[in-house]
Amino acid sequence: MDLIWVVFAAAAAIAVTALATAWAQGRIGPAVAASLAEKPELATTAIIMVAIPETMVILGFVVAVMILLRTAG
């Protein structure tokens, strides 16, 4: 396979998931900040809410690594 497509695929795996995470966190962040202003005791829930979309980019990173390693192997 052409190397450039492999690199492009790995980059896309990271980029698309990072954008998706950013979009989700961009929407969750303000809502969580507003909730915390009124109820500081929700801090734990807030952390979880903000951390949940990060799964996407983390799995994107894993997929990118797998693509690159498979090509290298």
Partner: protein, 631 residues
């Protein structure tokens, strides 16, 4: 673990109620609850007796006076020993009210002096800026001088003012403006006697955003103003020092007595609150509540010893279903106790369910250590945690955080040794080699390891769910969860056989077992079981983040090390490398913490945790919090 609670009923003659309550407050073990209405012993006595309202109002008002005075007085360090509380309430109340007035007067004086002092210091800068100008011979024999000190950001109005002054009396007025170090703008205007009135009018009409002039400064010639101002500053500083001395003396004299009084008043209010939950009649009183089971016999013995045989302390037999209202108190070994902070960030577990703290204490630092996994960063964290521990009070949240951080640092160092990492690959230059994984090159084995660890963690959560459901008599649910565990184990077996980690002959029996177990699971728990099974697999995959974050941290450390040779100058390279390592260390603290928390709260707790436990709040003596530096 959750402490075993016993439901306790204490009954006795009505005149002994106060003594019984005070003893219970001294013991500090009984969490009061209203007696069960359907109970015969509770019905034998009248409705709960509320504390009389009028004396309570006096107590509340006196407590407000005491706390206002304590809040305004500087804190003496270390904590002063408490003296015996006063016995004559009216005299104590009069003294506290007098103290409150005195402290308020001192505070009022201090505020006024500080404000004047700040203003004078600003004007001192003003006179220092114009000193030489004021000393020289006036341009006109009848020169009149005006001045204003404009607030920061009012520079534009100086230009406008100068333009207007020149238009009305160009040859007979001079304007000098100097920016001061504090940001304000000092403006000095000198005008001949004939133009002075026009200048005054213009100043009044200009509506400048000026600072008010210090009191008395307008009445003396400006040449004499500087010495007068210096003298006033000295006077104010002396008065401020006297004020601070007086407040410190008052604090030293009154704080021990006031603190004792504060504690006694809070205790009275706690007793008054407690009375609402006690049933009393003409002859009897009945107190009910929950207390740790091992503390029951000592309480019974102490009651008998101090109050005589008239008071009966009995354990009320309860059905398991009626224990839902038992309060929850966590008790864990010393090593695990700091991790209760993570459990307590969630609503407490229900009484009778499982306290996850011991598991959190093992897995949280493990996950953190796996993600950070570097001897250098681990040692930095250990130093930070040790400083935090040294600076924190015993029993405080900060102390718990510091102890958790020490545990995490230890695991980061241990995994750092296993991964052969010291500030990334720097360790290799002095012979450090990976003992378990080379995280830079063995990405797939590390990924498999983290997902396997995830499987262990999630299965542990499911095992706890089985135990919890079995304990609560929900046998069907327990079997369903057990079957989910079996399906995860069989799926793992099939996968390992498919990838030839295990002999291939395992694949077919494992796959058939999964296919057989699946309809049984659906039959036991309904269609929701399918969703839960899928979510359990999703949870296991989520542990891949340990590998992802660990690798990202290592890559950043490697980039930091490469900066040394990549930027031409070695000094600049080392400076950038240090800066980058510092940034990576900061990320390495934040990210693994958040993700280890998430793995616990979402993936692990999600399998078994049942929140909703009431906090155990026994009737006890009130204690002041750690002193705060005031004044």
């Amino acid at each position: 673990m959750i402490i075993e609670m016993a439901r306790v009923r204490i009954a006795g003659p009505r005149p002994r109620l106060d003594a019984a309550l005070r003893l219970l407050q001294d013991v500090g073990d009984l969490h009061l609850m209203a007696p069960t209405p359907a109970d015969g012993a509770a019905q034998a006595v009248a409705a709960p007796a509320a504390a009389p309202a009028r004396p309570l109002r006096h107590v509340t008002r006196l407590l407000d006076d005491v706390e206002t005075v304590l809040g305004a007085l500087p804190v003496a360090a270390p904590l002063v020993p408490l003296v015996a509380p006063p016995t004559a309430w009216p005299a104590a109340a009069r003294r506290v009210r007098r103290l409150r007035r005195e402290v308020a007067a001192l505070e009022h004086e201090r505020t006024a002096l500080v404000e004047e002092h700040t203003l004078l210091l600003q004007y001192r800068a003003f006179f220092e800026a114009f000193g030489p100008l004021l000393q020289r011979t006036p341009r006109w024999p009848d020169t009149r001088t005006s001045f204003v000190l404009l607030r920061a950001g009012a520079g534009a109005s100086v230009g406008e003012l100068e333009k207007k002054l020149r238009s009305v009396a160009a040859a007979q007025v001079e304007l000098h403006a100097r920016p001061l170090p504090s940001g304000e703008i000092a403006v000095l205007m000198q005008a001949s006697g004939s133009a002075a009135a026009q200048v005054e009018d213009l100043l009044a009409a200009a509506r400048l955003d000026e600072l008010p002039a210090p009191r008395g400064l307008g009445e003396i010639p400006l040449v004499q103003a500087m010495p007068a101002l210096r003298e006033r500053v000295t006077q104010i500083e002396a008065r401020l020092a006297a004020n601070a001395t007086r407040r410190a003396r008052l604090a030293a004299e009154a704080r021990p007595e006031l603190t004792a009084l504060q504690m006694q008043l809070h205790d009275l209010l706690l007793l008054a609150e407690a009375q609402v939950q006690i049933r009393t009649g003409e002859l009897l009183f009945v107190i009910e509540g929950w207390m740790p089971d091992p503390a029951l016999v000592p309480l019974r013995q102490r009651m008998a010893r101090e109050l005589g045989p008239d008071i009966v302390v009995a354990k009320v037999g309860t059905e398991p279903w009626s224990r839902a209202d038992a309060p929850v108190a966590l008790a864990n070994p010393r090593l695990f106790r700091p991790f209760e902070l993570i459990t307590r960030a969630f609503p407490l577990p229900r009484y009778g369910s499982i306290d996850p703290t011991p598991f959190v204490a093992v897995f949280f630092p493990t996950f953190f250590g796996l993600m950070l996994g570097d001897v250098g960063y681990g040692l930095m964290l250990a130093v930070l945690a040790a400083v935090l521990r040294w600076r924190s009070h015993p029993g405080s949240k900060l102390r718990a955080v510091s102890e958790m951080a020490l545990g995490c640092a230890l695991f980061a160092v241990v995994f750092g040794v296993l991964f052969g990492e010291f500030f990334g690959t720097l360790g290799a230059s002095f012979g450090m080699r990976p003992l378990a994984f080379d995280r830079e090159n063995s990405l797939v084995p590390f990924l498999v390891f983290t997902v396997a660890l995830g499987a262990v963690h999630v299965v542990l959560g499911l095992v706890l769910a089985v135990v919890g459901a079995w304990r609560q008599g929900q046998r069907r649910q327990a079997v369903g969860r057990g079957l989910t565990i079996a399906m995860i184990a069989l799926s793992a077996l099939a996968l390992l056989a498919a990838f030839r980690v295990l002999p291939e002959r395992f694949f077919t029996p494992a796959a058939i077992a999964v296919l057989v177990a699946f309809p049984v699971l659906v039959a036991l728990e309904g269609i929701i079981a399918v969703v839960e099974l899928m979510s359990a697999f999703g949870h296991i995959l989520s542990y891949a983040r340990i590998m992802a974050l660990g690798t990202a941290s290592l890559m950043l450390a490697i980039i930091a090390n490469r900066m040394v040779g990549a930027l031409g100058s070695a000094v600049v390279g080392v400076a950038f490398a240090l800066l980058f390592h510092l940034v990576n260390f900061a990320i390495g603290l934040f990210s693994p913490t958040i993700h280890a928390l998430r793995l616990h709260y979402v993936e692990f707790f999600g399998e078994f945790y049942s929140p909703g436990g009431a906090t155990y709040r026994p009737l006890s003596h009130w204690r002041p919090a750690s002193p705060r530096a005031i004044g």
